[in-house]
């Protein structure tokens, strides 16, 4: 059963039939996806399935060749990235942080859309969630361990107090122990109206997913609940390649 | 199949160009202008060899030209060499400079260009230094009136042009040319195709240097009186690069078209009002980069036409 296709009142992000291409190379074919308020969506897919391109298209980092992106009812498709971020989207890339800058600066830059007072208050809230970052606030981000860097990436992305946090492979380059820590952090962040859209290969993230989308060769191959997915071979095909 | 392309290019482009430039002096009296046309036709192809096929843009290309001019002059003045032998010295001087500067090829794009520009300015500073007056005549310039022979010099310039055009035609039709383009496109894949990247790049670099060196030598011979600033003038590099880019590099025809159009325009308006020409020229370069970065021939190539 596909999820509801029309924008329900609690829909935050609605993607209708977007397509993207690099030159003559088409990467996405009519991709539909919705994220509700406070909902957590995990987007699964193998390397090269188009996950990163899709996320970048949502942020306006890749130009779409067709389709519409709505956020809280507003059409974002023609807006620049910074304008989309001001509307309440946040993106955590695989790189996630500015390595050369300090932790404090990373968070301040993440909060660039807020006024100075709110930005400071927001930083304090984030330090409360990630105490390790407060300890090392003056150190360069490059001095952090891989897991701490992801925490900083999350803090940076949350600094502007977004409604939707879009993440590209938060598990990339992390050992299983840190992956569990990231999953736990995200699990704690859920609710409070924050929506999450997480592109992943690591199945650990299924634990916190409300719904799953699977990208296969630039097309949505499956959309539904985790329980439905377990009976479907789409996951097996997309992720493990097992038949 | 590949060599048929070489024959076709030779027959339909190289032979007609040489023939026209050979006949023109008998019907048009401004021989210096025609000579300069031959010089720029050759230099633009020299730039084409390097930039069009390997992606290195020689911003200080004139260094080889000047080295050739001085190699020729020093051979004539100090070794009393006959002009044809002195031309060999011109090539040798440019080749030696090329070898000396070969380490610059390790630099990537923009840094190579800037370093090459600095190198050409350094050579100018050295040659025009008063301390070297005994060898180079320093800043006071060279006079070669003893070997003055514009007719023979013009003929030699044509021969150099013909050789250069044939070399470019060869690059366009040979595996070696493909290998150079492969290096330009991707260094790692090129070495995984079995290409000795360092060696191939070096050959293109030296060929490019020799073309300018011989041309510089024949230029010295033709004008016979010149100053360091004459043969190291930045406009030689700039004109050669812009002509080649304007027409379209990695083709045989592009640089020729670029020289005919732009150097033609230069001689219509540039000689009488140089600063206005510089202005137009500057705008033209900017427009080229912003709107037609692959040159005139790319307009045809976009329509699927194979430009020789």
């Amino acid at each position: 059963m596909p999820p509801e296709q029309t924008a329900a009142p609690n829909t935050r992000l609605e993607v209708i039939g977007i397509e993207a291409a690099y030159g003559s190379l088409q990467v996405l074919w009519r991709v539909d996806l919705q994220v509700g308020k406070g909902e957590t969506i995990v987007l699964l897919g193998a390397n090269g399935a188009g996950k990163t391109t899709f996320l970048k298209a949502l942020l306006g980092l890749v130009r779409v060749t067709g389709g519409t992106i709505r956020f809280d009812g507003e059409n974002l498709t023609r807006l620049r990235t910074d304008q989309r971020v001001r509307r309440g989207l946040a993106f955590m890339s695989e790189i996630a942080v500015f390595q050369a800058l300090s932790i404090e600066e990373n968070i301040r830059i993440g909060a660039q859309t807020l006024d100075a007072k709110r930005a400071r208050a927001r930083a304090e809230e984030l330090y409360a969630i990630f105490p390790v970052l407060r300890e090392k606030r003056r150190a360069a981000a490059s001095s952090l361990s891989g897991g701490q860097r992801k925490m900083l990436g999350i803090a940076k992305a949350l600094a502007a107090d977004p409604q939707l946090l879009i993440m590209d492979e938060p598990s990339a380059g992390l050992s299983p122990l840190f992956v569990r820590e990231v999953v736990k952090t995200l699990s704690d962040l859920r609710g409070h109206g924050l929506s999450l859209l997480i592109a992943e290969q690591n199945v650990s993230f299924l634990d916190i997913a409300d719904r799953i989308f699977v990208l296969e060769g630039g097309r949505i191959g499956f959309a539904g609940l985790v329980s439905e997915l377990r009976q479907n071979d789409a996951l097996a095909r997309a992720y493990f390649g097992l038949k | 199949m590949l060599s048929r392309r070489l024959l076709r290019d030779a027959a339909f482009i190289v032979v007609p160009v040489i023939a026209v430039m050979a006949i023109l002096p008998s019907v048009y009296s401004n021989h210096l202008l025609l000579f300069n046309f031959v010089v720029f036709l050759t230099l633009a192809q020299g730039v084409n060899i390097l930039y069009g096929f390997t992606g290195y843009l020689p911003f200080g290309y004139v260094g080889f030209f000047g080295a050739g001019a001085y190699g020729f002059s020093i051979a004539v003045l100090h070794l009393k060499a006959p002009p044809l032998a002195a031309l060999i010295a011109a090539g040798a001087a440019a080749g030696a400079l090329g070898l000396l500067l070969a380490p610059l090829l390790r630099l990537s794009g923009a840094y190579f260009s800037i370093a090459n520009l600095a190198a050409s300015l350094a050579v100018l500073q050295i040659i025009s230094n008063p301390n070297l007056e005994d060898i180079t005549r320093g800043p006071y310039g060279i006079s070669l009136s003893g070997v003055f022979n514009p007719t023979l010099a013009y003929a030699m310039a044509l021969a150099i042009l013909a050789a250069t055009l044939l070399f470019v035609a060869y690059l366009r039709s040979s595996n070696f040319g493909l290998a150079l383009q492969a290096i330009r496109e991707n260094l790692f894949s090129a070495s995984m195709a079995g290409i000795d990247v360092v060696r191939a790049r070096m050959i293109a670099w030296l060929a490019c240097a020799l073309v300018a060196g011989f041309t510089g030598g024949v230029f010295a011979w033709y004008v016979s009186v010149f100053f360091p600033e004459t043969v190291f003038g930045a406009e030689f590099s700039i004109f050669a690069i812009v002509f080649a880019l304007f027409g379209g590099t990695s083709t045989l025809l592009g640089p020729i078209v670029g020289v005919v159009i732009l150097y033609g325009v230069y001689n219509l308006i540039g000689v009488s009002a140089p600063q206005y020409f510089q202005l137009i020229y500057g705008f033209l370069i900017m427009a080229l980069v912003l709107f037609l970065p692959n040159g005139l021939t790319s307009l045809l190539q976009r329509r699927g036409i194979d430009v020789p």
Partner: protein, 307 residues
């Protein structure tokens, strides 16, 4: 003699830092080479020259005017040229050609407007400014003229240029490290793609950096008549190559590395002038090539080599 040379080298070094600073800021933020950098310096020099000749404006007073004027020129120029350039396949390479074209345009216009002859401003003007400033303090009584430091006498112009350059570098430091826009600028320098992902309006940040870069060149130009000799419309190329040498010695893309590069350059320049003067003009070129080949990332780091 040696002390004199070293101290003069540091004064020149500070000035060369200012000359290269804008080029490095533009490179650091946009990864493009502004080959017209020296031509903006030339324009700044002519601005100072004409204001002095027409209404005896002291060159020091021209500095704020040059800054504002060239920021205002730089902003639209950025939006005309750079976004299109950055979208191309190889912006770094194409930038050289594009800005070379711009350099030709500026040089041609300057030649048409100002004429080709060499111009200069009397060196005493900066001394007057220095004395005037020092005498603002109660009890100070300074003659305008050469300045004596460590028992050596230096032209006042050098001292003023050195101090002004130091102040300019300091202002850039404060901008980058103490302001919000500066932090965003460093974010773009650190990783343009990540900056875009974070929602920074990278074009706005870059446009401001570009305009500041050009304005710094123009301020450097105000002192050019005293530090680089007489001014001509064609002086831009040499100034660009010098700037490039300075920033390559320091570190490409790291504006504060420029100070190190400038001082090394200035001191070696003065040493050459004192002990090997006929070869001094070779210095920028040889230093540039040597550093690129031996330590291509500059003394403070960034990879520019292929294989």
């Amino acid at each position: 003699m040696l002390i004199y040379t070293l101290f003069a080298g540091i004064l020149f070094g500070l000035y060369f830092s200012l000359v290269g600073l804008g080029l490095n800021l533009v490179f650091g933020v946009m990864r493009i080479v502004n080959l017209a950098h020296g031509d903006f310096l030339m324009l700044g020099a002519y601005l100072a020259f004409w204001l002095y000749t027409l209404s005896e404006v002291n060159p020091v007073a021209v500095i704020p005017l040059a800054f504002v004027l060239f920021v205002l020129i730089g902003l639209p120029l950025y939006y005309i040229l750079v976004p299109r350039l950055l979208a191309a396949k190889d912006p770094e390479m194409l930038s050289i050609i594009l800005f070379f074209g711009l350099s030709q345009v500026i040089e041609a216009v300057a030649g048409i407007v100002f004429g080709r002859s060499e111009r200069s401003i009397p060196g005493g003007e900066l001394g007057r400014a220095l004395a005037g400033f020092v005498n603002l303090f109660p009890g100070a009584n300074m003659e305008s003229g050469p300045v004596e430091i460590l028992g050596q006498t230096f032209p006042a112009a050098w001292v003023v240029a050195g101090i002004a350059s130091l102040l300019a570098v300091l202002c850039v430091y404060l901008y980058l490290y103490r302001t919000r826009l500066g932090a965003l600028t460093r974010a773009v320098m650190a990783d343009r793609e990540e900056a875009l992902s974070t929602g920074i309006d990278t074009h706005r940040v870059s446009a401001i950096a570009f305009a500041i870069g050009i304005a710094l060149a123009a301020i450097g130009g105000v002192f050019a008549p005293f530090m680089l000799g007489s001014i001509t419309p064609a002086m831009g190329v040499e100034a660009t190559v010098t700037s490039f040498a300075v920033i390559v010695i320091g570190s490409l893309g790291n504006p504060l590395g420029t100070v190190l590069g400038g001082i090394i350059y200035g001191v070696s320049y003065m040493l050459m002038q004192s002990y090997l003067s006929s070869w001094a003009n070779l210095l920028p070129y040889l230093l540039l090539i040597a550093i690129l080949l031996v330590r291509p990332s500059g003394l403070l780091g960034r990879q520019v080599r292929l294989a």
